[in-house]
């Protein structure tokens, strides 16, 4: 466990990072106008407060570069997924073999795991559908022939590395 | 046919449908839904009136537009009250939640059920 001071530090850093993010969101919404800035700062402050309250800062070291890569991959995968589904839908033979796959999931419970599920739901042909009794991820897939388990394990590794969590779950 | 006229016809159809639903449908929740449809039709007529009044560089007369906003909020409040009544009336446990004369003075009966 981290010390109280370090914990406080982490909170401050997280709060600032998030506040800057929300301020950027505000600027995108309202455009850059000096007169609007006080309201924007207020909005960012309120949003950061709420965000800290609902989602306390994690205690791992995030890697910004890896996160950026992850986001790009996220977008790229959603494009691939769209093509995948479109091809299946338009193919006269309707190449579908829908079914359920059970995968091991090593992300810690809570928001991190939900975040991973959300990412996974944009993968081609995959749709996480909750967990079974042992805490394994239940995935609905369009084609049970896909190597679902391996695909997801790869994705999870990338995800955890970007969030600086892999050492805990190696 | 202008946009306003087209939506005027739409609004008259919605009013008729909503009114029919409110009168005929036996289910109270669906009466409420139909009432909302009727309300949407009326508000849409307001919108048509506003659109027809486009002038002074505005796409529509702002007065009716503002009135619709007020109306939508009031309609929501009405829906909430009506839904609360329906739920209280039809919920399975509503029967035993009805107060007897003795408790209607407002005394707490079971001390907070904590």
């Amino acid at each position: 466990m981290l010390s109280a001071a370090a914990d406080q530090d982490l909170r401050t850093t997280t709060a600032l990072t998030r506040a800057i993010g929300f301020l950027a969101f505000w600027l995108i919404l309202s455009g850059f106008k000096l007169g609007d800035l006080p309201a924007g700062i207020l909005a960012a402050a309120c949003a950061s407060w709420a965000s800290l309250r609902f989602l306390p800062p994690g205690q791992s070291k995030r890697h910004p570069m890896l996160i950026a890569q992850l986001m790009l991959r996220f977008l790229q995968q959603s494009v691939v997924a769209g093509f995948d589904v479109a091809l299946r839908a338009l193919d006269p033979r309707l190449p579908l073999a829908p079914g359920i796959a059970i995968c091991r999931c090593t992300s810690p419970m809570g928001p991190l795991r939900s975040g991973f599920c959300t990412m996974a739901s944009l993968q081609p042909g995959l749709l996480p559908a909750g967990f079974d009794a042992d805490g394994n991820l239940v995935v609905h897939c369009l084609d049970v022939g896909q190597p679902v388990a391996r695909l997801l394990a790869d994705e999870e590794k990338r995800y955890l590395r970007a969030l600086g969590l892999e050492q805990h779950h190696a | 046919m202008t946009t306003a006229t087209l939506f005027g016809l739409c609004s008259s159809a919605l009013v008729g449908l909503g009114l029919f639903g409110v009168i005929v449908d036996p289910h109270p929740l669906r009466k409420i839904l139909a009432f909302n449809l009727l309300g949407s039709g009326v508000f849409l007529l307001f919108g048509v009136v506003a659109r027809r009044g486009a002038a002074a560089g505005l796409g529509g007369d702002p007065v009716p537009q503002a009135l619709v906003i007020t109306g939508i909020v009031v309609a929501f409040a009405a829906t909430a009250l009506a839904v609360a009544l329906v739920l209280r009336l039809f919920e399975p446990e509503a029967g035993n939640a009805v107060e007897s004369e003795a408790t209607s003075a407002g005394l707490e009966v079971d001390g907070g059920r904590s």
Binding site: F22 | T5, G53, V63, V68, V74, A80, V109
Partner: protein, 311 residues
């Protein structure tokens, strides 16, 4: 092409409305209504009423959805069917409604141009309010009395909803908060979305003075976010006797009333603003109203208190 789009939209709207009336299942009818509300938002955009479109999108989809879908789900088990009207009466009702529809359609077709409008007058006086959005000027200056009374209507509806609480649950909590497993995706949604919702709500309220938007829309977004965190169990529903909560409910209308009476002394009378401070006063009132509207709408959708808070 624009006209073709309008016709398509209208056909869809009427078709969905009719479908909602005829479909059997209550839950399905409710979902159709939510869909209808979303389409209405597009219709309002086509009528150049972006302010209304924002309101409809916020109230029609977000908060009415919660209210009605929750109710429909609860009523599923209960036998809520009333008595069905006899066939002749149904026919009479249909004929009556068709007549009303037809006469409205006739009015819509026969209305002549130039249509009467207050738009020029609203624009002429806009300077005195300091606002850039004429709809906001109507709501908070020209016809501020309506807006103030409507706030009271909202509060009153809430008192009405609360009055349906069983006596034993008075001072209790609405049964909206639930306990869901921490990994649940709903909780995740409720953790990440609300901060963005808050920024958007404040943006709506703030920008309402000069662009489409305003306290209603901002307040509704806040209310939806609040409902989301309560439903996901991230935040607990408050007890209705919570002092803070009651102050929040009243803050907006109270400030509006105070500003209104101040106008008697510093401007032309009740609900008048001195032109120099008009915008500042209106924005302050809108900000307070947004918070009160959020609290009121959220609690309206949450329903009457049903049980005491667990300690």
């Amino acid at each position: 092409m624009a006209a073709a789009f309008d016709i398509g939209l209208i056909v869809l709207l009427v078709g969905i409305g009719a479908w909602m009336i005829v479909v059997r299942d209550v839950v399905v009818a409710t979902i159709i209504f939510v869909v209808f509300g979303l389409l209405m938002a597009i219709a309002w955009v086509r009528l150049s009423a972006v302010d209304v479109a924002l309101t409809e999108a916020a109230i029609g989809s977000g908060i009415t959805g919660t209210l009605l879908l929750g109710a429909a789900a609860r009523l599923k088990g209960a036998d809520a069917g009333g008595t069905r009207l006899s066939f002749p009466i149904t026919v009479v009702a249909a004929v009556l409604c068709a007549m009303i529809s037809a006469s409205l359609a006739a009015v819509a077709l026969l209305l002549t141009y130039p249509a009467p409008t207050l738009a020029p007058m609203a624009m002429q006086n806009l300077d005195q309010t300091g606002l850039g959005n004429p709809v906001a000027a109507v709501l908070f200056a020209y016809r501020a009395l309506d807006t103030l009374l409507e706030k009271v209507v909202l509060l009153l509806a809430l008192v009405g909803v609360w009055s349906l609480a069983p006596d034993r649950a008075w001072r209790g909590v609405p049964s909206l908060d639930t306990t869901v497993p921490p990994s649940d995706i709903l909780a995740f949604f409720a953790q990440i979305l609300p901060p963005f919702g808050i920024v958007f709500a404040i943006y709506m309220t703030w920008t309402g003075a000069s662009n489409p938007g305003g306290a209603f829309q901002g307040g509704t977004v806040l209310a939806v976010m609040w409902l989301l965190v309560m439903m996901a169990g991230v935040m607990r529903a408050p007890s209705i006797s919570n002092v803070w909560l009651r102050w929040l409910l009243v803050a907006g209308p109270a400030l509006f009333l105070i500003v209104g009476f101040t106008g008697v002394f510093i401007a032309d009378g009740f609900l008048a603003y001195p032109p120099a401070y008009a915008k500042a006063l209106i924005v302050a009132v809108e900000a307070a109203l947004a918070v009160s509207i959020a609290a009121t709408l959220g609690l309206l959708a949450a329903g009457p208190p049903e049980r005491m808070q667990q300690k």
